[in-house]
Amino acid sequence: MKVGLFIPCYVDQFYPQVAIASLELLESAGVDVDYPLKQTCCGQPMANSGYQDYGEGAADLFRKNFSGFDYVVCPSGSCTLHTKDHIYSGKDNEPKVYELCEFLTDVLKIKNLKANFPYKVGIHASCHGLRGLNLAKPSEIMGVEFNKPKQLLEMVNGIELVNLTRKDECCGFGGTFAVFEEAVSVSMGKDRIKDHEEQGVQVITGADMSCLMHLEGILRRENSPVKVMHIAEILNGQVPKTQNQK
């Protein structure tokens, strides 16, 4: 099983620790994982802004970079979804694309982890992972509950997971929405944070760094003690760093 690690552009540039944690998690599970060095981006920012055609170059490059792999694994639900929907067409000769959490639960079928994380944690359910990839049962859909990121976090020692009032409300990031609809975006982000704060959360985690970047931006501006960490960091045994505030 050859796994290609796809690291979204902004994670590569701004959150290398998330990429390192993802890589180490896969390596420690004994996976043959490689990171193609010529990768850039899946083209989602262009496509979601209505310029899908301008993302074609990125998509072609993506297919080239990951040809020959059995799986592409990515620590972002949103980029994974875009890759599945717009870069590949689900044919047999294409690599299968998985978001990191679902790869751990569904393909590797991880049953335990060594990580220790004695903090109160709130899970931010990012929408594309939730509703697009079915990482958990969305609250709108009726049926049996399941939640893959939570399933993994429950294997971490000492962790205390809280219940939110609105367990899967959008944080308002939405790519360029965050900029073009700044007022709504920030208002949504603040409301999300308030829900976590009211439950006494110390760390907000999730499977999409983009949403966490948006929430972190607000938290740091407001000098909040609440930290954000990507789920890969927690599963890989990292602890919260002390961040510089603004």
Binding site: P16, G43, A183
Partner: protein, 470 residues
């Protein structure tokens, strides 16, 4: 996008406020926007509780979706069948290709029957056609009898929500409106007291009215009958007292058989408000002795939408409003920020088909979170259609040169690994060395209320080269 049919640009206005600007204005009053958000979230929560009680909920949604797919694929024949059966029942069926023809039909009926006073129960279609203003300009007394609609009629507003038209108003504001128009005590805002005042006021109007206009929730092809759902019984009160009943129906409101009705009735009220069924579900088949019944079938852009392959199934909508209640953007920006008769997620995929230029910002008023799609009782892929409208608008909508340039530039960088690495390094470097005021200024919408991420000393790629690939 083979079947895509170019929408017309109908707006005469040069500039329409963007959704973002209207939303920002609404959000200035933080207390009100939070109240609005909480109120609608409460409705969404009631919907969840109601849906949880139906073990076959997801099957019901599938059934409803498939029935509506069938309707859209056979609309021509079903409409003819419906017309035939309705006519045989004694209903006069009229066709209207657009809003104007619809309004002219209504006017002619009123003139022929010498009616001056009429009552109306809730109909989003007549809002879409601008019927009230059309008739008022001609000297008619048109009274909306749905309580919420009557309130906004007093207040000279349009509905901000398709099921709860006055949801944007607080109790106290309604008290003030009633005080001004109905003479209730100043400052009184007790709902029971206000409702009673409205009831007394509307009784008079019901008695005076010679014609009653209603919308139609479901037209049944097999029987030629139609169904109107209300919570206040105002449609029944109006139609029972008046000599003529004019029902206005969008051509997509059909279902094939009476047996299909149960599927939709079980979904509609639960999705809308969390009730198991609306208080009144009224079935109309034929006029009573000595009375008249008219049914106007309205197109007004619907066949154009049917011809757009990517967007046709927006016509499956049963107007439950659930996508509005669940939409985190609607909840925080209110219905008015959309500037269209049907606001919220469904409005954002219907309206661009009516007037692409006027509504060009609506498909962008979304994070594509997909909650609308999951809540929709007829399984319209709303968020996917928002994405598809974006692709259309950047090609055919108002031009946005700077955005277009930025996206083309971004696409170019992303297709060239070396350029990408270099640009990344430059961006990180400039963020570390620039003074704060240079980064956080009025051109940086991100930074108005948010910090940018801290800049790491190296990218993952750099780290990987050093630590894994030597």
């Amino acid at each position: 996008m083979a079947k895509y049919q170019k929408p017309k640009t109908r707006s005469k206005m040069k500039t329409t406020p963007t959704h973002a600007a209207a939303a920002e204005a609404f959000l200035k009053d933080g207390e009100r926007s939070h109240w609005h958000d909480d109120t609608l979230w409460h409705v969404r929560s009631k919907r969840d509780v109601a849906a949880q009680k139906i073990p076959e909920w997801e099957n019901l949604r599938n059934n409803a979706s498939q029935i509506k797919d069938y309707v859209l694929s056979n609309l021509d024949n079903l409409l003819l069948q419906f017309e035939k059966n309705a006519s045989e029942n004694g209903i006069e069926v009229l066709w209207a290709k657009d809003a104007d023809e619809h309004n002219q039909h209504v006017l002619r009926i009123l003139e022929e029957n010498q009616v001056k006073n009429l009552v109306k129960s809730k109909s989003i279609l007549t809002e879409e056609c601008g019927l009230n203003h059309f008739l008022e300009d001609k000297g008619y007394d048109v009274v909306d009898t749905d309580l919420g609609e009557r309130i906004i009629q007093f207040n000279k507003q349009v509905p901000s929500h398709i099921v709860m038209p006055a949801i944007h108003l607080k109790k106290k504001e309604i008290g003030d409106i009633f005080h001004e128009h109905l003479g209730t005590e100043a400052g009184a805002d007790d709902p029971a007291y206000l409702t009673e005042a409205a009831r007394q006021h509307l009784r008079q109007k019901f008695i005076q009215a010679k014609a009653a206009i209603t919308g139609v929730n479901f037209g049944i092809a097999e029987t030629g009958g139609f169904v109107v759902c209300t919570n206040e019984g105002n449609a029944d009160m109006g139609t029972h007292l008046a000599d003529l009943h004019i029902a206005c129906m969008g051509i997509e409101k059909l279902i094939p058989r009476a047996a299909d009705l149960g599927v939709f009735l079980r979904l509609l009220a639960r999705s809308a408000t969390g009730q198991s069924i609306t208080n009144y579900t009224s079935h109309f088949h034929r006029p009573r002795e000595g009375k008249k019944m008219y049914l106007i079938l309205v197109d007004n852009g619907r066949t154009d939408q049917l011809g757009r392959e990517d967007f046709r199934n927006s016509l499956k909508c049963i107007r439950c409003g659930a996508c509005m209640n669940t939409c985190p953007i609607y909840r925080r920006s209110s219905g008015f920020s959309y500037g269209s008769t049907v606001p919220g997620p469904i409005g954002s995929i219907l309206s661009p088909g009516m007037d692409l230029k006027k509504h060009s910002t609506l498909p962008f008023a979304s994070t594509l979170c997909g909650s609308c799609t999951d809540v929709c009782p007829v399984k319209i892929n709303i968020h996917e259609q928002l994405y598809k409208w974006r692709q259309v608008i950047t090609k055919e909508g108002p031009s946005q040169p700077s955005k277009k340039w930025a996206m083309r530039f971004g696409g170019n960088v992303m297709s060239k690994p070396k350029l990408f690495d270099m640009m990344g390094k430059m961006a990180r470097k400039s963020l570390t060395i620039s003074p704060r005021g240079f980064i956080y200024n009025s051109f940086n919408a991100w930074g108005k209320h948010r910090e940018l991420p801290e800049v790491p000393k190296e990218s993952f790629k750099d780290w990987y080269r050093k630590n894994r690939k030597q």
